[in-house]
């Protein structure tokens, strides 16, 4: 079944031109899911996390609608069938 990853349009080019990816949930945490994603799409992985593995400051990730910063962070469980959405936060100028 896998996990559906939904990307903002601005990142679609880094995922082969699509905003929707089916990804194996791996070990079941968000960190492991993002590792899997980055192994296939390294540039996409770098846009979401820095080289120390942290989510970039102005990138928000939701697992089934919940902001992971207020859940388990990168340790948030991502079960089979979950929807993981990546969104840019309100920032810039």
């Amino acid at each position: 079944m896998g996990v559906q990853v939904v990307l903002p349009g601005v990142l679609a080019d880094l995922a082969g031109g699509t905003r929707h990816l089916e990804v194996d949930p791996g070990g079941g945490t968000l960190a492991e899911l993002l590792d899997t994603l980055a192994a296939v799409h390294p540039l996409l992985g770098r846009r979401i996390r820095d080289e120390a593995g942290a989510l970039r400051r102005f990138v928000n990730v939701y697992v089934d609608g919940d902001d992971v910063r207020y859940a388990g962070g990168l340790g948030t469980a991502v079960p089979d069938g979950a929807v993981v959405q990546v969104l840019p936060s309100v920032a810039g100028g």
Binding site: R46, E51, A52, A54, R56, P88, A91
Partner: protein
């Protein structure tokens, strides 16, 4: 002949070209639009010039990109050209400086970054290695971030030896004779008005350092208050600010060909970062800072913006060309060492960096 001017701004990169010995310039459409371009270099040591850009992808983080076709296409390394090793626990925050080494080291490019770090590439800027000798320096935990962030913002490789001089905010000037190890602070004589007297061995907020054409031992520094010169590779610095209307500012540029010639763009003070009397003026010395002359032909009055530390540069043509990019999005160029300036671009985003080179 063609001269290329790269203009990095808070929201993209512009390239301007001149085919008439820098009398007139034409501006391209923007490159890397909406990305902050805080560092840029034009590497002319290659068969085709390479434009390197240190960018901040807005929400998506910093990286280094390059173009070998003058901006028609851009590349980046999948894993990131600059990546802190895992054991450091650090992450790249911003690329502040990209500096090609000498012609006889054609693939070596240096990068100065935030957090305070120096990087060396041996593949033309596609990938960099952290210079551990500086990262592991016992002083590093006490280097404070300046208002703009804690970064190595100036990298000066010596063309005739392995010596590398760096400057950082706020740590001051450090020198390594092999570019890797033995980094020694060289700030004696440089003031630090934000610290109790006497000035410390290190911790100064040196804004920019430039090497005189006479040789690597003579350098100039624009400090956070104070303009200084050293004649012994930084072991001792003396003030050369007398004759300037203010000793605050960010950039300092030395002539690549004429010993003793350098330029600054004074601002009133740290709490008043505007030019004296609201007039954008470049000040030039022909005698290594003993005297200064204000240059304003073609530069604006009623000007209340500033020039950032890399918003001012010289080319290597004769006579030396100067390029001044301002925080209100204007770029002024001089083909006569500052005697006269002409507007190259206006209404751009804040200019963070300018670099110029003759490309054929």
């Amino acid at each position: 002949m063609t001269d290329l001017l790269a203009i990095g701004t808070r929201k993209g990169l512009w390239l301007a070209r001149s085919d008439d010995d820098r009398r007139t310039w034409s501006l391209d459409e923007p490159h890397l639009l909406a990305q902050e371009v805080a560092a840029v270099s034009i590497d002319t040591r290659r068969p085709t010039p390479r434009v390197l850009a240190g960018i901040q992808y807005g929400h998506w983080g910093p990286t280094v990109m390059w173009s070998d076709d003058l901006g028609a296409s851009w590349q980046e390394t999948d894993s990131g050209a600059i990546r802190f090793p895992e054991d450091t626990g650090a992450a790249l925050a911003r690329v502040w400086q990209l500096r090609p080494d000498s012609a006889d080291r054609p693939d070596v490019v240096w990068a100065g970054c935030e957090p305070h770090s120096l990087w060396r590439s041996t593949d033309g800027g596609c990938s960099f290695d952290l210079v551990r000798g500086l990262w592991d320096h016992p002083h590093r935990p006490t280097w404070e971030p300046g208002g703009g962030g804690g970064a190595v913002h100036t990298v000066l490789p010596d063309t005739a030896s392995d010596r590398v001089t760096v400057a950082m905010s706020t740590g001051g000037v450090y020198v390594s004779e092999d570019g890797r190890t033995g980094w020694t602070p060289r700030n004696s004589g440089i003031s630090a008005v934000f610290l109790p007297e006497p000035p410390p061995e290190y911790g100064q907020c040196v804004h920019k350092v430039a090497v005189d054409a006479a040789g690597p031992d003579r350098m100039y520094a624009q400090n956070h208050f104070g303009v200084f010169r050293t004649d012994d590779a930084g072991r001792a610095w003396t003030s050369i600010a007398e004759g300037l209307p203010a000793d605050f500012g960010f950039p300092i540029v030395a002539s690549p060909s004429t010993p003793g010639t350098a330029w600054v763009v004074p601002l009133v003070a740290d709490m008043q970062r505007v030019p004296p009397e609201g007039r954008l003026r470049v000040h030039r010395t022909r005698d290594a800072g003993e005297t200064w002359t204000a240059l304003g032909t073609g530069l604006p009055d009623d000007f209340w913006a500033a020039v950032m530390r890399d918003g001012f540069c010289a080319d290597e043509a004769r006579p030396t060309g100067l390029y001044v990019g301002t925080r209100d999005g204007c770029v002024y160029a001089s083909a006569d060492e500052g005697d006269t300036f002409a507007l190259v671009a206006d209404h751009l985003p804040d200019v963070l960096v300018v670099r110029a080179a003759r490309i054929d």
